[in-house]
């Protein structure tokens, strides 16, 4: 699009632009409010987080983050006074509530589970996807459209419906509540997206590149690894981020198929409770740390988002 010059027939007027900008920015600000509120809650003390009316101005505290990473037990004042000087901020904050730190919470292990499962399944889904996508893009495969529809349709299935037999199957195979089981499951869900997205990206690489390489003496496999893969690297990266986000965010399978050792962060965060109800600052802190990677990825992906959410069909 050229900048606003002579042919302003289709270019919106300045007033139209300003008005549009006003409403879009207003919407953006309103839609960000809930998120900012949660980020702010993480820095409140528990009493501040449940004050009536809600506090917009408050003095920041690390208590939410301390509570997120620790488990605490209530102690008598005498016991606490008999202890030595507090070690670190969290210790100090905890003692003010007449409690002592009893140990580490499960947040870090759950976060690490999320990382292992998300990266493991993404690696597998993208690897499988790039091979299949290349085959669908370059070769005549009988019933290609039907196979592609079948691949996509597996992603459309309601997760709970899939979870019933998977639950029984994993129980038989000893895969319930294991990282491997979750990696395989998320790979199967993500591979459909990965095939469809990557097929779109590979379709855009001219066939002539490989043909030229093959005339130069490369085999088909060589041409695939040395010519096509480097050309598709942006697409592969974008696809990987989409797979990562799905696996990172997934809840239904995770809550039904994991309970302990392999539990990921999404089923864990809602279970963070303090004394007498939800510990909202700790939940806010857990949510903040969990969402930050997604915010970074969203900004990185912004040019490819449209492709990702339409399985590569709409490219702009």
């Amino acid at each position: 699009m050229s900048t606003s010059t002579a042919h302003s027939v289709v270019e919106p007027s300045r007033v139209a632009k300003r008005t549009a900008g006003f409403f879009v920015i207003l919407y953006a600000l309103i839609s960000m409010a809930p998120l900012l509120w949660i980020f702010a809650t993480a820095w409140k003390t528990p009493p501040d987080s449940i004050s009536y009316p809600p506090k917009i101005v408050f003095s920041p505290s690390l208590e939410g983050y301390c509570n997120l990473f620790t488990t605490r037990t209530r102690q008598t004042t005498d016991y606490i006074n008999a202890l030595g000087p507090p070690q670190g901020t969290c210790d100090e904050v905890t003692r003010k509530r007449e409690m002592v730190i009893a140990g580490k919470s499960n947040y870090v292990p759950r976060f690490i589970n999320s990382l292992i499962i998300a990266f493991g399944s993404t690696f597998l889904a993208v690897t499988l996807g790039v091979f299949s996508a290349y085959a669908f893009s370059r070769f005549k495969i009988p019933l290609a459209d039907d196979i592609l529809f079948f691949i996509l349709s597996t992603r459309m299935m309601p997760p709970i419906a899939v979870a019933i037999p998977i639950y029984l199957m994993y129980r038989q195979l000893g895969l319930s509540d294991t990282a491997l089981g979750m990696i395989l499951l998320y790979t199967a869900v993500n591979v459909s997206l990965s095939v469809w997205l990557l097929k779109g990206f590979i379709d855009e690489i001219p066939k002539e590149y490989e043909e030229a390489a093959m005339i130069d003496g490369y085999t088909r496999l060589h041409a695939f690894f040395k010519v096509v893969l480097p050309q598709a690297s942006t697409g592969i990266a974008a696809t990987a981020i989409f797979c990562l986000i799905f696996a990172w965010n997934e809840y239904a399978f995770a809550v039904l198929l994991t309970s302990g050792t392999a539990q990921t962060a999404p089923p864990f965060i809602p279970t963070i409770i303090g004394e007498g109800g939800m510990d909202w600052p700790a939940v806010g802190a857990g949510t903040t740390l969990f969402l930050i990677p997604i915010l970074v990825f969203t900004v990185l992906l912004r040019k490819h988002l449209l492709r990702g959410i339409t399985f590569g069909a709409v490219r702009k």
Partner: protein, 309 residues
Amino acid sequence: MRVARATPPAFSNKVRGLSDRTIAWLFITPTIVLLLAINIFPLIWTIYLSFTNYASNRPNRPVLNVGIKWYQEILNSPEVWAAMQSTAHFVFWTILLQTFIGFGLAYLIDRKFKGHALWTTIILIPMMLSPAVVGNFWKFLYQPQIGLFNHVVAFFTGIDASSFEMLGSVRLAPWAIVIVDTWMWTPYVMLICLAGLRSIPAYIYEAAEVDRASKLRQFWSITLPMALPFIMLAVLFRGIENFKMFDMVMLLTGGGPGSTTELASITLKRQAFEAYRTGYSSAFAIILFVAVFGLANIYVRTLNKVKQR
């Protein structure tokens, strides 16, 4: 640069390396095998279970064939029809709101004001978040005394902030889940509509200007019809996703109060993993499968139509 070889490529391919046919199958098979193992085998198992009295908490009980008993029971169950009604309410209103707001936003963003790219990215953030985590923190925002939502409503309407409970009231809870879903997924519809609007070539508008068509006429005769396949795509996809909605609503209301927000997937989860009626829930799962499969078929057709643009 290498010099081209004298050997014809077809011949050299045969000599060195695998044939294209072999490579094609080699590349596709792992994906298909994985999908058969994790998706299709379980699906077939579900079909089998749906005709039996199997219960996953009593694995040693003899498995009996019960025929189509569960299917009959489901289609006659008031609980299932109530869940379907809640689901229909949820799907209808979320799609309606998201389409109007999403298209409106896309139309405004397409005016290309200064900084529109940045604000578009900001608007997109909610749809990237984990629905479960979103449901969980909206529960906090909806708290009648301490939550932000009630106080914002109170500020603008003058109603007392603690006089209504979004999640506790039978009347308001179905709307509470619609609001959160709309907050989260309007950006999705917006993004696809924006692609639709941008796919309309400028010369069509120029021609319309030459013909002195009014702006309103241009909107109805050019913008809307040409963006329609894209709107359809967004509507279908949101329809499928919300038909099987589970995570966000589960954490927000858990299906309550009573069963007012108990959507189909939540009923299914209750039957399968709380009541352990595996046969019954398998039959219900198959019914949902068939419905989603039909919708997915239409979706892919629309997708291919849009792709040709």
